[in-house]
């Protein structure tokens, strides 16, 4: 494996290669290059379109799956369909993510369509990091689509972050929650330069006792633009809390458009949204510790996006 590949893997998945004893699928420049299954986690390539099926056995416990994607060729456009079948009562951590290294002048693009079928009482932790680097003028584009179907009493925590180097992203997330299902989404985003990021999240809470929490934090620097549109729809006796916080800097633009709908008298849905620049007292406070203004700014942003 080349050093660039290792660096990208380290950044997006915290690994430098195959993890012994764990399910693993590495996709590079539009091709599956390494794949391992385990007794409880089978990874099978799709036959009708690019992508894989990840099948986690019912009641499997403390399983871990890495499915990173890396793009290192300028001008490549990759689209992949990954379907996750999580068996009843299983407990699994899925580490996804995409890193693009583009030194060329043509755009590199990865569109990942992930669909989750989470069985009854199953628990999923999903971690997805998006990252771009390279010296070329070619754009680095990532357009993830995430669809999640949650069965009764299943729980899922999704941590999705895009911290650096992605020029354009359109993120679409759709979910439906059955009775007692619990979803927590942590979304973190930082844009700089002339980057654009759009995030649409739509969650239907269909079953009694379903709950949703969305915590979205973002920082928009330079001339970048961000648009958030989280939508929570309560169709039963359910709870949802949507919180969007953004720090705006320089000449950036941020739109936060939370939308909540209740179609049931016992649905309790709350949203909070805030956009603002870094508080000057925060900067001064850290300067009174001996930090420079730029160091103070970095500490505040790091903490906010932690």
């Amino acid at each position: 494996m080349e050093q660039t590949d290792k660096n990208l893997l380290k950044t997006i998945a915290g690994i430098s290669g195959f993890q012994v004893g764990r399910a693993f699928n590495l996709r590079k420049d539009g091709q599956g290059v390494e794949r391992h299954s385990t007794p409880n986690v089978k990874i099978n390539p799709k036959t009708d379109k690019p992508g894989i099926d990840i099948i986690v056995a019912a009641h499997a416990q403390k399983e871990s799956v890495h499915i990173p994607v890396i793009l290192t060729q300028s001008g490549i456009k990759d689209m992949v369909y990954n379907d996750f079948y999580i068996g009843e009562g299983a407990d699994v951590e899925i580490i996804a993510g995409c890193g693009i290294h583009n030194d060329g002048c043509d755009a590199s693009q990865h569109d990942g369509i992930h669909t989750f079928y989470i069985g009854k009482n199953a628990h999923v932790t999903y971690i997805e990091k998006h990252y771009g680097e390279g010296d070329g003028n070619g754009a680095r584009i990532l357009n993830p689509t995430t669809v999640v179907h949650m069965e009764k009493n299943s729980t899922c925590e999704m941590m999705m972050s895009q911290i650096k180097g992605v020029d354009s992203t359109i993120r679409k997330t759709q979910m439906d929650l059955a009775a007692g299902a619990k979803m927590v989404i942590h979304e973190k985003l930082m844009t700089h330069g002339k980057q654009e990021a759009h995030s649409d999240v739509e969650v239907e809470l269909n079953g009694k006792g379903a709950s949703l929490q969305i915590i979205s934090r973002s920082v928009a620097k330079d001339e970048s633009r961000q648009v958030f549109h989280p939508k929570a729809i309560g169709n039963n006796d359910c709870r949802a809390h949507v919180q969007c916080d953004s720090i705006i800097m320089d000449q950036a633009r941020v739109s936060s458009i939370p939308e909540i709908s209740a179609n049931h008298v016992d649905a309790e849905i709350i949203h909070e949204a805030a956009i603002g620049k870094i508080n000057s007292d925060q900067l001064i406070k850290l300067q009174t510790f001996g930090l420079s203004e730029s160091e103070a700014e970095a500490v505040i942003i790091d903490g906010f996006l932690k």
């Binding site: 916080d245 007292d281 406070k285 001996g290 500490v299 505040i300 903490g303 932690k306």
Partner: protein, 238 residues
């Protein structure tokens, strides 16, 4: 030692200039406890900000250990071991109290030392170290954490701007204990306060009114005068 020499500070509003501080001379000796008091709007908080560098004087000189720091930035003053506790400390989403104390200290602070600083301000470290310095903390908790960040810094001079402002009586009693505790730290304390119980801890009391020092002297000399004046004003009101 801190020396303020003929310090002036004015703000410009449209075509008008308003003097907030007029010709103030103050000396704060090493390892002393000095309380600045006086009526609201008299310039006390401005004076504290001028010492830390949050505001720049329009006249005069600030000397610290003999060095002229009048035009030195906030962070450079911090490096000279001057610290400042805000009247309304800012909160930080995502920043834990453990991290804040380490930032104050200038390097990773051991669990043991973090616990020491928090217990010196009356907080149980295990309940707080991993909490975020955010809106979930009460006003009294934030004030005490603010003081702990100063303790973590090994300061020569600590400035406190009305630490009692905005906290309840119960928290205030604990705050007084905290300041008693601070005497063991080997630093000068410059504290702005209206509270008699805090003034009773002072070595020296300075009264600032309308941007000027109107009284200055030892606690034994000044505090009885202030209490007498207060009684007289109250009698007039009756």
């Amino acid at each position: 030692m801190l020396e303020l020499k003929n310090i002036q500070f004015a703000v410009h509003e449209s075509n008008d200039s308003k003097e907030i501080i007029r010709h103030i001379d103050i000396t704060v000796p090493d390892r002393s406890f000095t309380v600045i008091t006086g009526p609201n709007g008299g310039g006390k908080s401005t004076l504290a900000k001028l010492v830390m560098g949050l505001e720049k004087p329009t006249g005069g000189q600030i000397l610290f250990d003999g060095e002229d720091i009048t035009n030195v930035s906030i962070s450079e003053r911090a490096k000279r071991k001057i610290g400042y506790a805000f009247q309304q400390p800012p909160r930080f989403k995502g920043l834990t109290i453990r991290k804040l104390l380490s930032l104050a200290h200038g390097s990773e602070l051991s669990e043991c030392m973090s616990c020491q600083y928090l217990s010196d301000v009356g907080l149980c470290a295990h309940d707080y170290l991993d909490r975020e310095m955010d809106a979930s903390l009460s006003g009294g908790e934030v004030k005490r954490i603010e003081i702990a960040t100063l303790l973590a810094r090994d300061l020569k001079l600590a400035i406190f701007d009305e630490p009692e402002a905005g906290i309840d009586l119960w928290s205030f009693a604990k705050l007084v204990d905290t300041f008693q505790n601070l005497r063991k730290y080997n630093m000068s304390i410059l504290l702005i306060s209206h509270q008699e119980r805090i003034m009773q801890m002072a070595d020296e009391i300075i009264v600032v009114e309308q941007g000027m020092v109107t009284k200055q002297g030892s606690r034994e000399e000044i505090l009885p005068q202030l209490l007498h004046e207060f009684d007289t004003i109250c009698d007039k009101c009756l």
